[in-house]
């Protein structure tokens, strides 16, 4: 009996080991996916902040350019 069980047991043990291995891999995949999503979101928020700053700077520069070049164009 034990002999018959052994290969089955070994097979089952092996199967459990494989499944654990697969589980580790899939949980790592999920962590990678979570990391990618959070990285995407944080990057987008930082880029949006950058965009706001850039836009504000551009508007200020436009204003300053208008102030500075006004005198020149008049002459």
């Amino acid at each position: 009996m034990s002999l018959q069980e052994d290969p089955v047991q070994r097979e089952i043990h092996q199967d459990w080991a494989n499944r654990e291995y697969i589980e580790v891999i899939t949980s790592s995949i999920k962590k990678i996916a979570d990391f990618l999503n959070s990285f995407d979101m944080s990057c987008r928020s930082r880029l949006a902040t950058l965009n706001e700053k850039l836009t504000a700077l551009e508007r200020r520069i436009e204003y300053i350019e208008a102030r500075v070049t006004k005198g020149e164009t008049l002459t």
Binding site: I29, L47, L54, I61, E62, V68
Partner: protein
Amino acid sequence: MPLVKRNIEPRHLCRGALPEGITSELECVTNSTLAAIIRQLSSLSKHAEDIFGELFNEANNFYIRANSLQDRIDRLAVKVTQLDSTVEEVSLQDINMKKAFKSSTIQDQQVVSKNSIPNPVADIYNQSDKPPPLNILTPYRDDKKDGLKFYTDPSYFFDLWKEKMLQDTEDKRKEKRRQKEQKRIDGTTREVKKVRKARNRRQEWNMMAYDKELRPDNRLSQNVYHGASSEGSLSPDTRSHASDVTDYSYPATPNHSLHQQPVMSSYGTGDGPQYMGVNQGLEHEYRPSATTVRHATLNRPQQPPPPPPQASDGPHSSVPLVPADYGMLPTQLVDYYNPTGPPPTPLPPMIPSAQTAFVSPLQLPVPPSHSGLVTGSIYAAAAAPSPPPSSGLVVTASPPPGPPPPPPGPPAVGSSLTSSPMHAFTVPEAKRHESTQPPISDARSDLLAAIRMGIQLKKVQEQREQEAKREPVGNDVATILSRRIAVEYSDSDDDSEFDENDWSD
């Protein structure tokens, strides 16, 4: 349930059917699961590459913008160091009369539409089932509508909203027109008052164009006038002086306007009589300066009602003033002719400001383009070169009204005038003779025609507005909304401004 943007493809690892005839089933399942894991990793890497690509594109755009900004900053830094406040030639009038600064604000529109769909969502969309091909029935329809639109129309809600907005703007405008018509029907006195208020506004703006110290005050005297007349040339060197003089001449009309605001009253009160002599001589110097044209037009104004309302602005006031002006001009012309010898006709003691409005010498023998400018030519004829304040004629420095200051006329005339007052009379008088007699009668008819044209033009403008609204709107949410809001919230102001815009131009 939210729409998932990126799906990793083999969703279930172990659910595939096992092939038959395999002894070690558990190992088979393990192997297929591992194979599915590998496929999942590949789709994950594809999605990751897509994510980083989008982020990279955005960051790249920002990099480009930041670089261009850096270049602009560098150039600005160089420019600023080159700036020298002592050298700057900006005249104070120009500051306020130039076009106001408007920054170019880009508004995001149609953010969630078919054009801005991200790639993974587009892939999912392409994998989905297509709607039934009702488009093939479109050529057979009678009403020429797209067949598929009856089944599914992505732009349905936007079109609905656009129609509603446009309809609302039209309704508001019609209401305003009705209100305007009612006001006009009510009485003409109101119109007069409104017109005066508008002119006062312009005067205010002109007054505010100068700094407080530079605003015209009571210090001008005859000496300035004589000095100005003797200068002779209209070169830019004299322009500063002329500009000062014109500053003084500006408030002449405000003196007489009844609706002056307290700000202007301080400047206007004592200036009138003093400017009579000064303004006459200085006006011819003044006219060529195009910058002062607008200011001058505002000076004309505003006489109290008993003499017919004398609109200061050329085109603006041309209509109501012209008939009065014509009446005034012959008398004024006669006065000008006095020194040279034509028999003076007894002038009724007109209110000085009223006359000055007319006299505002546009000594432009060349009639300007507008019909309103015809009055300008008449004014030019009436513009006496420096007549001594005889018969109480007051020449307010009123620069040529409105749009195109006729350049060649005034310099020649002005120079001649400045050289010697008496000699100057001959030249402009001759011109006046020519210009006054024919244009007087023609100008009146032209003015009437212009009035009628104006009314007709308004109707056409309404039609054009309606057409313009419908045609090029496109899908621009911002413009639609801005128009709607402008029509809604600018009720009272738009009336007078709209009227002003009609006349002035």
